[in-house]
Every structure is written in C-alpha cells, then in structure tokens.
Amino acid sequence: MSISTIYILVAAGLLVFSFVKNREKTTKALMVAGRVALMVLPVLLFVFVLMGILEVFVPREVFTSLLGSGHGVLGIALGELLGAFALIEPAAVFPFAGFLHQSGASYGAVVGFVMSAILIGIVTLPLEIQQFGARFTITRNVIALLLIFGLGLVFMVVL
C-alpha cells in the first residue's frame, strides 16, 4: 500500500468519524476543503510550471552556487530572503522547497526558505504593524530571521 493510499484512507476515516459525530460540521468541513482546493490548486499549477521552467532554463550551478552547502551560511540567509519575498500559499511552499533541494540547495537554505516563507511576509507587514505596532513587528521579525538562521545551521549540521 502506497503512502498516498494511506493518507487517503486516514482522511476518509476521519471524515466518516466526523460525519457520524456531526453531519452539519462535516458538510461545512467539505465546503472548507473545496474552498481551499479552489485557492490552492491554481497556485500549485503556477508553481509547478515555474518549477519546470526554472529547471529547463536555469542551470543547476546557479542554485548550487547560491543556495548550496558550498555557499556556506550565506545560503541560509539567501534562502530566508527568497522566502520573505515569496508570495505563495503555504501549501505551495513545500513543493517549491523540494525543487530547490533537488536543484542543489542545502537543507539549511531550504529550511530558511520554508520558515521565512510561512512566517515572514513582506505583504503582511503593514497588517502586522497596524495590529501590533512597529516596535513589536520589527522585534518579532528580526528575532524570527535570526532564529530561522540558527535553525538553518542546525539543519546543515544534522541533515
């Protein structure tokens, strides 16, 4: 049995369990799932095309030299920078991160990209400042960048 089959069976099982417990909530859950699908699938299509185009037109050496372990800790910082500017759905972050790793990016750079893509958003900065103030926002984001960098170092050593 493949991993995919197991996931599907688990999801189906949870769905049945949920349905038995509460029909209304389960219907709502399926509607949420549909909404998320509508939101995520087109982004995935775009990211997959982008991955294909990058694979065809950008030489592997570019990724390896910028994000590879040969580039040392600077690769982590570059991964973070890429993540902070990436405007993609979290669900699309992992496929693209996998592509980066296959193209020669180190695990440190990849985790830098993943974490800052989820946690640091150039587009959400104005909202964050509006809700929490500039002092909180700057502190929070700088700390995030530093801790993610540390995490990248750990990933480089461990993985």
């Binding site: 949920s18 509607m31 509508l38 939101m39 775009f46 669900a91 695990y107």
Partner: protein, 195 residues
C-alpha cells in the same frame, strides 16, 4: 472592552477573508499566468515546452492524492478546532504553562497570517503576554496539516526535525521578544501588568 476587540477582530477577519467571487478571480489569474508562462516557453522552444508540461503533469499526478487528503484534513481541523478555541484554551493558562501551550498547541492549526494576526491581537487585548503571542505565531508556522506534503517533498527527517525544533524556537522567540518589546515599560519603572 473584550467584546469590542472581538468584533473588531472578526470584522478584520472578514475583510481579509476572500469571498467566493474573489477566490474565483484569483484562481483564474493564477491559471492564466501558468498558461501564459507555459505558452511562452513552448513558443521559444517547443521541445522544452513539452518537457515542462511533462514535469507539471508528473508533479501533479504524484501529489494529487496527498493534496486531496490534506484538503480534507484542513477542512476537518477548521471546523472541529478553530484558532478561536485554541486561543480560548491559552487564555486560561498563565505563566510557564501558558507559554508551553502557546509554543505547541497552535502547531496543528492551518490558516494564513491574515487570519492569525487579528486573532492574536484579540488575544493580546485580553491580556496575553508578549511571549505567548510570539510563541503562538512561531508554533503556528509548523503547519502540521501540511505534513504529508512536507514529507513527500522534503523527506521525513526534514519534517521531523523542523516540527521538533519549532516549540524550542517558539519559546526562545517568545521570551526574547517579550524582553525587548516590554523593555520601555520596565525602564520607565512601570510594572508589566500581571496577566
């Protein structure tokens, strides 16, 4: 006071939550961008265009089942365990226990920053400490509902290490942020409100 905060947060939430027409619009835009990018490639080099189409097809075929399972998982988590419920649990706990819960519980939540920020503002308005708010944010970045995707594309060791490290990052980040953000209050000799 709390009610006001909640209303403001839920309005903010609605404003940032895309309605169906907007959702369809953004879907069309992304599909159009993908098609245009692919057509451009195919016009420049037809051979590579076919190659790219192959990559897209294979990647999609490889993840469709996982993605479907993830969508269902996100839907179920969203109705059975809302961020509001999690923040309610956190609101009851103070001190170290509160920090520890803030650094772990939100790991299983989905949603985007647009949903999480207004919620955290509400939490803060109710007196949550800076450390808990920041820890919540870090823990939320685990994105556990997407775990099947993470394992598929980056492998189990990567996913396990990342998820295992997140509570530690969350606690460190929370304490550090609180120490810096609340510093002017301490310097002014003001007591940090016991919350």
């Amino acid at each position: 006071m709390n009610m006001k905060h909640e209303n403001a947060a839920s309005e903010q939430h609605k404003k940032n939550h895309k309605g169906s027409p907007e959702l369809v619009k953004s879907a069309i835009i992304y599909i159009a961008l993908a098609v245009v990018a692919w057509l451009g490639t195919t016009i420049i080099t037809p051979q590579e265009g076919i190659h790219v189409a192959g990559i897209v097809y294979q990647t999609f075929a490889g993840v469709l089942a996982i993605i479907a399972a993830v969508f269902v998982l996100i839907g179920l988590i969203q109705v059975w365990l809302t961020p509001e419920q999690v923040s309610k649990v956190l609101g009851k706990e103070a001190g170290w226990k509160g920090l520890l819960l803030s650094a772990t519980l939100p790991m299983i939540l989905g949603g985007s920053l647009f949903v999480i920020f207004p919620l955290l503002k509400t939490l803060r308005g109710k007196g949550a400490r800076t450390s808990s708010v920041v820890a919540f944010l870090f823990a939320w970045s685990a994105k556990a509902p997407l775990l099947p995707l993470e394992i598929k594309f980056l492998g189990l060791p990567f996913a396990a290490l990342r998820l295992g490290a997140i509570p530690i990052l969350a606690i460190l980040g929370g304490l550090l942020a609180e120490w810096i953000v609340d510093k002017p209050l301490r310097d002014a000799g003001l007591e940090i409100p016991e919350r």
